[in-house]
Structures are given as structure tokens and as C-alpha cells.
């Protein structure tokens, strides 16, 4: 199995990114490129579905941190869903769930964008 493989799918105006494997300093560039691809195509409403993610190191969270202000300034966001215990652990250690909204399911994460829009 590759260290990290990436896939993404559109759900309306939301792009869902599926990292499979682990994100550390070795694989982070692949992850970052997927985020950048979504942003460059004008899709700033991003959900990262972590169901295939075994762990993420600070390098991976750094990639999110480096881009989240840019997508927010375009009316978008980066939201997380389906995270395992190991990934949730590092988010808790850093207080990262204060920076990024975390959902239990992809459906909730995707629909959270339309709820926000209807409240505007």
C-alpha cells in the first residue's frame, strides 16, 4: 500500500477529499497539493473525510493551517469528518478542534455548509 493516496469528489459546491494512509512530513506535499487543487478550481468549501487516515502528524495539520485563512476569506472553510481516535488525539493535544469544525459523518459536514448559507 502506498504511504498516502488521495481522492476527491464533488458534493454540490463542496469538495470532499479522501486521504488514505498517513500524513506526515514525508507525505504532506501530496495532501497539500490536493487542497491547492480544490482551491485553484474555485472550490473553497472543503471537507476532509478521514475514514482512511491512520494518523496525521503536525506537518499535516500545518498544511490545513496554512490554507484555512485563505479559503475562509473566499467564503469557504476546511471541515473534518470521520476521524479515528489517533487523529482526534492530536487535534485535542493542540486544541485544533477550536480551529476546525469536526463532524461525525460526511453528510453532516457537507450539509453544514448549506445550513450556514441559509442562515446568512
Amino acid at each position: 500500500m502506498a504511504d498516502l493516496s488521495m481522492a476527491s469528489e464533488r458534493r454540490g459546491d463542496v469538495v470532499v477529499i479522501y486521504p488514505r494512509g498517513f500524513i506526515n512530513a514525508h507525505t504532506v506535499r501530496q495532501f497539500e497539493q490536493e487542497l491547492e487543487r480544490a482551491m485553484e478550481s474555485g472550490r473553497n468549501r472543503i471537507v476532509i473525510n478521514g475514514s482512511g487516515l491512520s494518523y496525521i502528524a503536525s506537518a499535516g495539520l500545518g498544511a490545513i493551517m496554512g490554507h484555512i485563512e485563505d479559503v475562509r476569506s473566499q467564503g469557504g472553510d476546511i471541515r473534518l469528518t470521520d476521524l479515528n481516535e489517533t487523529v482526534l488525539n492530536i487535534l485535542n493535544v493542540l486544541g485544533f478542534n477550536h480551529i476546525c469544525r469536526v463532524f461525525d459523518s460526511e453528510q453532516e459536514a457537507v450539509t453544514s455548509y448549506s445550513e450556514a448559507a441559509s442562515n446568512d
Binding site: 514525508h26 503536525s58 500545518g62 498544511a63 493551517m65 485563505d70 485544533f96 480551529i99
Partner: protein, 165 residues
């Protein structure tokens, strides 16, 4: 062993790098991020096999990953093929881990109030590794080994209420 206790290693006397006569597991590998996953998994397994529960072993693995990444990126500035040495010293009360290298010496950056919001506002991609190490380990220290190599020492107690004893 106290997190602040100096650790000496002496190439002429290998036992000198084994405080309290502890057995030691040594790992040497070239500086390359492709080895980070292997190092992380090894650290996790060693922690589990020395009596840490799975969740605790994960945290130790997390810290070792961050410390090793710092050596590759900041001590060796991404240069591949330099040597990194990790000594795992399991003891009855704790697991001590030394990460040695001969690149630029790393220092503990003072963190008066880690501010993640500020890092995000500045679009910073780094600056979290040492904070993670400090949060999940009981001891973190940077210094020189008797061999002249720079090292980062991580200590984790099995009972966290014994921290600092």
C-alpha cells in the same frame, strides 16, 4: 530518571549511555522523511511492549515522530543521508528516548502561551512539534551527548503522577 538528569554517553564505555544499567534498543538510520513512519511504528511498539497502554504508546510515538521530523528539517535542513540515532531505554518507571544527530543543535523554544490562532492568522505551517512533545511527554530536554552529538531527550513515566520524582 529525572527529565533534567544529564545523560552522558561514552563511546569507549558503552555502559555509560545506559543509566541504571538499563537495557537499550538502538536504531540508526539516514535522515530521510521516508523513514518517519517506520520510526513512529517502532516507537509505538516499543512503548507497548514496555508496559504502556495503547493510547499512551500512540502519544509516545507522536512525540518521537515530531522530534525526528525536527532533526531532519531543522538540524539537517532536509539534507538526506546524514545519520540519526535513537536510543530507547525502557525502565520500570519510565521510557527514556534519546534522539541523536550531528547537525545543528536544536533548542527548546520558550512557549509562553502557545497560540494556535496566531499561527493560523500568520498562515504558519509549523511551530507545533515542540508543543506536542511537551504536552504528551513528561520530560523534554536538548543537549549534547558525551560523544559530542546533539540530542533531544524525551521521557515518559508510566504513572504520570510520578512526573518529576
Amino acid at each position: 530518571m529525572s527529565p533534567d538528569e544529564p545523560i552522558e554517553s561514552n563511546e569507549d564505555d558503552p555502559s555509560a549511555s545506559r543509566p541504571n544499567g538499563r537495557s537499550m534498543l538502538e536504531l540508526r538510520f539516514p535522515s530521510n522523511t521516508k523513514y518517519l513512519h517506520m520510526v513512529r511504528e517502532l516507537a509505538r511498539r516499543i512503548a507497548e511492549s514496555t508496559g504502556f497502554e495503547a493510547a499512551e504508546a500512540e502519544k509516545i510515538a507522536m512525540a518521537v515522530n515530531e522530534a525526528t521530523t525536527n532533526v531532519i528539517e531543522h538540524a539537517y535542513h532536509g539534507e538526506e543521508g546524514r545519520e540519526i540515532e535513537i536510543h530507547f531505554q525502557p525502565g520500570g518507571e519510565s521510557l527514556d528516548i534519546q534522539i541523536l544527530h550531528d547537525g545543528d543543535a536544536l533548542e527548546e523554544v520558550p512557549m509562553p502561551g502557545f497560540d494556535l490562532d496566531k499561527l493560523v492568522a500568520e498562515r504558519r505551517k509549523g511551530g507545533m512539534g515542540i508543543y506536542i512533545m511537551k504536552q504528551v511527554m513528561d520530560g523534554l530536554r536538548f543537549g549534547k551527548a558525551g560523544s559530542g552529538k546533539s540530542m533531544c531527550v524525551l521521557v515518559r513515566y508510566k504513572r504520570r503522577d510520578r512526573k518529576g520524582e
